[in-house]
Every structure is written in structure tokens, then in C-alpha cells.
């Protein structure tokens, strides 16, 4: 007999048993069945667990009142949550453990077999079901009255359309907000969080400045959204260390370079800068960018370099943006190059 013939078509039921049915294990009596002494002990254990549960509830209430949450005192919060958590856990676990222990030791544990039945209905039942469907079809005229049937299909197809329209309008229209930031020609680079503008002469070699655009702090609304897009890391390296693309050479100023701080992978702030290797590491997924080489990705899951902010200095010596970023900042998306 081949392996295939051992199985009936379309069924996972093995009709040839490779291992004989071992049957049920002989019933073994528990200590609590054999000795009244053990049964009484089990009874005490179960009720002890229920008593622990009650004590737990009392502990939770005690903790709530003994360690009131006082404004400004953070350690009070700690003790409050700790004792309430311990008490409530004991309270719930006590009931659970007690119930299980009760069932396992004292309730009957005789093994019972229940045979599985085939899922298929009898031929009579199946024929009867078909009869009912046919009768309903005839009486309702579902097959006969084509107009009703087709308009019903139409109504069901149209019904979800309002939902699509309503849910489609839940958020603001994205528009080009992903493609532009607050940076504009002449926007001064300012310190995060004070908003004090930065002079090129203040950025010494090896320095890192965390930068926000001028005017961000004064924004009335969408301040965080704008910050999340416009955050910039400003670094001065020895100009000789920069490997600059001639087309982008004018984007830096005397070794001062500015890059978007938002990782092109999933948008974590990339700011772990190493002064001598010029590595810029993202703490979330270890994407590593070479700051000296236009933030080329040298390790990790990020797919494109961090966008560079073209900068220069104004008449007073302050660093200003030449323009907005020339490509979208943050995580890449499908039509970002359009």
C-alpha cells in the first residue's frame, strides 16, 4: 500500500494507525481522594488563598490612603502605585489560584471520553435544506424578479460610499506639507531651544549645534510639526576633511555643514555625532551616515542620505539658509521625487 492510499481524499484522517491507540491511562487516585486528612489540608490551602485575596484587597486600599499622591512629591506616586499594584495582584491571583487548586485537588477528576462525530449532515437533512432554499427563492421571487435583484445589488454597492467619503476627510489634506519645511532663503539658523541666532565665528571646529529655524518659537500653532520637519544638526569640521560634490560645494560655509536631523529611515532624530570619524549614528536602528561625505549611508537600514540644508552667512555674520531643503526630509515615501 502506497503512502497516498493510507489517506482518504480530502481528509486528514489517518485510517491506518501507525501506532496502536494506547487508550486511557488507568485512573489514579489523588491523595485527597484516599485520605480525609489530605483533603482537609487542601481545603485549608484553598481557603488560605481566598483569605490572601481578601488581604490583598485590604493592602490595595491601605496603600491608596497611606501614600496619597501629593503634587510635587514623585516618590509618593511610586509608593502609591507599588502598594496598590501588589494588593490588587494578590487579590486577583488569590481567587484564581484558589479556584484552580480547588478544582485540581477536591473536585472529581474522573477521565471521560467524548467521541467525535462526523461533520457531514445526513443526506435527508441536506436534501431538506436545499428544498427550503428553493422554496424561499420561489416565494420571494429573487431569481424571477431581475429588476429587484439587480437594484438590490446596486444599493449594496452604493451603501459604503458615504463612509469612504467621510473617513477620507478625517485628517487634513497632506498636500505638499511633506515636501517643504520652515526653511526659506535668508532664514537664520538659531539655537534649540532658545532661538538665539548663531554666528559662523561661534561654531568652532568639532562643535555641534542643535538648530531650529528663526521664528519657530514664536509660532502660534503647529510648532511641533514644524520643528519635527525643520530640525537641523550644524557641525563644523576641518574643511580639508569634507569630500564635497562640486555641485554642492557652495552649500557649506568654511567647513560648517547643516543636515536634517530627521532619519530618512523612520524619522528618529539622528544626532549621535562623532567628532573625529564624522560618523552620525541614528540610535533607533543604527543607520550610520558619513557627515564628511554628504551624509552618505555607510551602515544600517536608511536608504538615502540625510538632506543637506544649503547655508551661507548674512551681512552681520549670522548663518542663514540659502533655501529650503532641496528634497523632502524624514522617512522616504512613494512619490517624494515628484
Amino acid at each position: 500500500m502506497s503512502d497516498l492510499e493510507k489517506y482518504t481524499a480530502g481528509s486528514a484522517t489517518n485510517i491506518v494507525r501507525p501506532i496502536a491507540d494506547p487508550g486511557l491511562e488507568p485512573h489514579r487516585e489523588r491523595m485527597t481522594d484516599k485520605s480525609e486528612h489530605h483533603a482537609r489540608n487542601a481545603e485549608r490551602q484553598v481557603s488560605a488563598m481566598f483569605i490572601i485575596s481578601m488581604i490583598g484587597a485590604v493592602i490595595a486600599v491601605w496603600g491608596f490612603f497611606a501614600f496619597p499622591i501629593v503634587e510635587g512629591d514623585l516618590s509618593a506616586t511610586r509608593n502609591n502605585t507599588f502598594w496598590m499594584g501588589i494588593g490588587m495582584a494578590l487579590s486577583l491571583l488569590g481567587i484564581g489560584f484558589g479556584a484552580v487548586h480547588w478544582a485540581k485537588t477536591l473536585m472529581p477528576d474522573n477521565e471521560v471520553s467524548e467521541e467525535r462525530h462526523t461533520a457531514r449532515s445526513t443526506d435527508e437533512a441536506r436534501a431538506q435544506a436545499i428544498e427550503i432554499v428553493k422554496l424561499a427563492d420561489g416565494e420571494s421571487g429573487f431569481s424571477r424578479r431581475k429588476l429587484i435583484r439587480r437594484t438590490l445589488y446596486g444599493a449594496l454597492a452604493f451603501f459604503p460610499i458615504p463612509a469612504v467619503v467621510i473617513f477620507g476627510d478625517l485628517g487634513p489634506v497632506v498636500g505638499d506639507t511633506l515636501k517643504r519645511t520652515m526653511w526659506a532663503p535668508g532664514t537664520r539658523l538659531t539655537r534649540d531651544p532658545t532661538g538665539i541666532p548663531i554666528k559662523a565665528s561661534e561654531v568652532t571646529i568639532g562643535s555641534v549645534f542643535h538648530v531650529i529655524p528663526e521664528g519657530l518659537s514664536e509660532l502660534e500653532e503647529h510648532k511641533l510639526e514644524e520643528k519635527a520637519k525643520a530640525a537641523v544638526l550644524l557641525v563644523r569640521v576641518n574643511p580639508g576633511d569634507l569630500k564635497e560634490d562640486p555641485a554642492k560645494a557652495s552649500w557649506s560655509y568654511d567647513g560648517i555643514v547643516a543636515y536634517s536631523k530627521i532619519c530618512t529611515h523612520v524619522g528618529c532624530p539622528v544626532a549621535l555625532y562623532e567628532q573625529h570619524t564624522h560618523h552620525l549614528l541614528c540610535p533607533c536602528h543604527q543607520s550610520t551616515f558619513d557627515l564628511a561625505d554628504h551624509c552618505k549611508v555607510i551602515f544600517g537600514p536608511a536608504a538615502r542620505p540625510l538632506p543637506q540644508l544649503p547655508i551661507t552667512v548674512d551681512d552681520e555674520g549670522y548663518l542663514v539658509a540659502q533655501s529650503d531643503f532641496l528634497e523632502p526630509v524624514g522617512p522616504s515615501f512613494w512619490d517624494m521625487r515628484k
Partner: protein, 275 residues
């Protein structure tokens, strides 16, 4: 130069010289000038060193003592005039703060080359460290050892915390527990580091740490940051055991071992027959 100045003016002038000269000191042409000055100072500079000084730090005796220590302990890597050699970078212009940090935390003299120098028991006395710092400071201007007034921990903790989270926390962790960097390097934990060494690290940028000059974070800002670090160091964690304050790694491991372990134990117990 610091030692030309009466002691009562010294602190102020130091701060100013830092502000004015630091941005310039690593321009390409400046290096040549600095080396030239360094050679003059170390070679012919003894004539200048014979003048009378009031200030203790940077006195000619101290500088000459520092130079001896430097030649005996540092010169094989940093060059006999601090100009740098195969093993180590130039120390001209790194300032007294850099020497005080590197030697004062035991990182220098370096034990072995590698991705990063480790903290180890300090090899010199406070006096010897100051002497070497005075010698290196005499080579060219650089960040000075910070004044006591910026090392107190009574600054604005809230402001310091905000500055720390913006400028430092990405590498050093939100409460200064430290963290990993690329290729075997790491940002060390800041708990237990002295106020002076924290300040000096900010102002000099040791190893791969960037520099946070006084033009970026003012001495007051630095004081606030130090106050914040000392505050969290002494602060009892609200969330219970910190597990090293390193966040999801330690907490996740704890949950997997004890939390999941507890659930597995209960599952086994539920499935077991009573005897």
C-alpha cells in the same frame, strides 16, 4: 597668556580668551602659527618664564615641572614639544581643561590603542596634573580649567535638563547612563563623574565627543546641565528599580525572564495533575 595676568583678573580673562581665540585656533593657517608659537615658547620661552608672577597656576616653576612630567610620560606619543607623533595627536592649543580631564580621569596616559580610551585609576597626583596642564596651556591658548562658580550644583535643573536632552541625551542617555556609538565606541555613563570633569568634557570634546564651546552653551548653561546631572544622580526613581536606566533593553530582558517565566510556570501548574 594666562600667567601674565594678576590672579584676581585671571578667571575673567580666561573666559574671554576662550571666546575670542577658540573659533580661530584650528583654521589651517592657524595651525602653522600655533606650532611656531609653541616652538618659540618651548625653546626660547624660558626667558619669558623668568619674570615674576603672582598666580600660582602657570608659574614658571610649575610649567617647568609640568614639562618634565610631560617629557617623561606623554612625549612618546604627543611629541617632545606637544606637536603630536605617530601614537597621538598634537596637544598644542588643547588647553589646561583637556589635560585636567584626560589625566584627571585616568584616560591618559593611554593604556592601549583601540576604538576608545577607558577610564582607569588616576596615575598622577593633583599637583602633577596641574603642572602638566600648566605646561600644555603655556604652549598655546586653549580652554582653561573651569572656575569654581560654574561647578556648583545650584543651577536651574529644569533648564539644564532641557539643554541636556537637546545636546547630550542622544549619546549619554536621558539620565546620563551612557550608550553605544559606532564601531566599538561608546558614550560613557555620567553618574559619579565630578562636576569639573563634566564641564571640561563639554568645553574640550574629548575623543569623539563634539565640542560645546562657551559660544554654544554658556558657562551658566553648563552649570545648569551639571546641576541636572547631579539632581538625577541623587533622585529616587519614580518608576521603581532603574535596572541601570538603560531603557527597553534591560526592562525587556527582565520582563521576558521573570514575567514570561512566571506565566510559563503557571501554565505548567495548570496542566499538571494533582497527586
Amino acid at each position: 597668556m594666562d600667567w601674565f595676568v594678576p590672579s584676581d583678573l585671571r578667571v575673567e580673562i580666561k573666559m574671554e580668551s576662550q571666546l575670542n581665540q577658540k573659533p580661530m585656533r584650528r583654521r589651517p593657517w592657524a595651525l602653522g602659527v600655533v606650532i611656531f608659537l609653541g616652538l618659540i615658547l618651548s625653546g626660547g620661552g624660558y626667558a619669558a618664564a623668568t619674570q615674576t608672577y603672582q598666580a600660582e597656576f602657570g608659574s614658571p616653576e610649575q610649567i617647568s615641572e609640568g614639562r618634565k612630567l610631560f617629557l617623561a610620560n606623554c612625549a612618546s606619543c604627543h611629541g617632545t614639544n606637544g606637536e603630536g607623533a605617530i601614537g597621538g595627536p598634537s596637544v598644542i592649543g588643547v588647553g589646561a581643561a583637556s589635560v585636567d580631564f584626560q589625566v584627571g580621569t585616568g584616560r591618559m596616559p593611554g593604556q592601549a590603542s583601540g576604538p576608545q580610551l577607558y577610564k582607569k585609576p588616576v596615575q598622577f597626583t593633583e599637583e602633577q596634573i596641574l603642572a602638566m596642564a600648566a605646561y600644555v596651556a603655556s604652549l598655546a591658548p586653549g580652554p582653561a580649567i573651569p572656575a569654581e562658580e560654574f561647578l556648583r550644583t545650584d543651577g536651574d535643573v529644569t533648564h539644564g535638563g532641557e539643554l541636556f536632552r537637546i545636546n547630550c541625551a542622544m549619546c549619554h542617555n536621558a539620565v546620563g547612563a551612557g550608550g553605544a556609538l559606532t564601531e566599538g565606541k561608546f558614550a560613557p555613563g555620567l553618574q559619579g563623574v565630578s562636576e569639573k570633569h563634566i564641564y571640561e568634557a563639554m568645553v574640550t570634546g574629548p575623543q569623539n565627543m563634539p565640542v560645546f564651546s562657551d559660544a554654544n552653551l554658556t558657562p551658566e548653561d553648563k552649570k545648569d546641565i551639571i546641576s541636572y546631572l547631579k539632581y538625577v544622580e541623587d533622585f529616587e526613581s519614580v518608576g521603581g528599580y532603574e535596572l541601570g536606566s538603560i531603557g527597553p533593553v534591560a526592562e525587556g530582558l527582565f520582563t521576558w525572564i521573570f514575567g514570561i517565566g512566571f506565566i510559563i510556570a503557571i501554565t505548567v501548574w495548570l496542566g499538571a495533575k494533582a497527586n
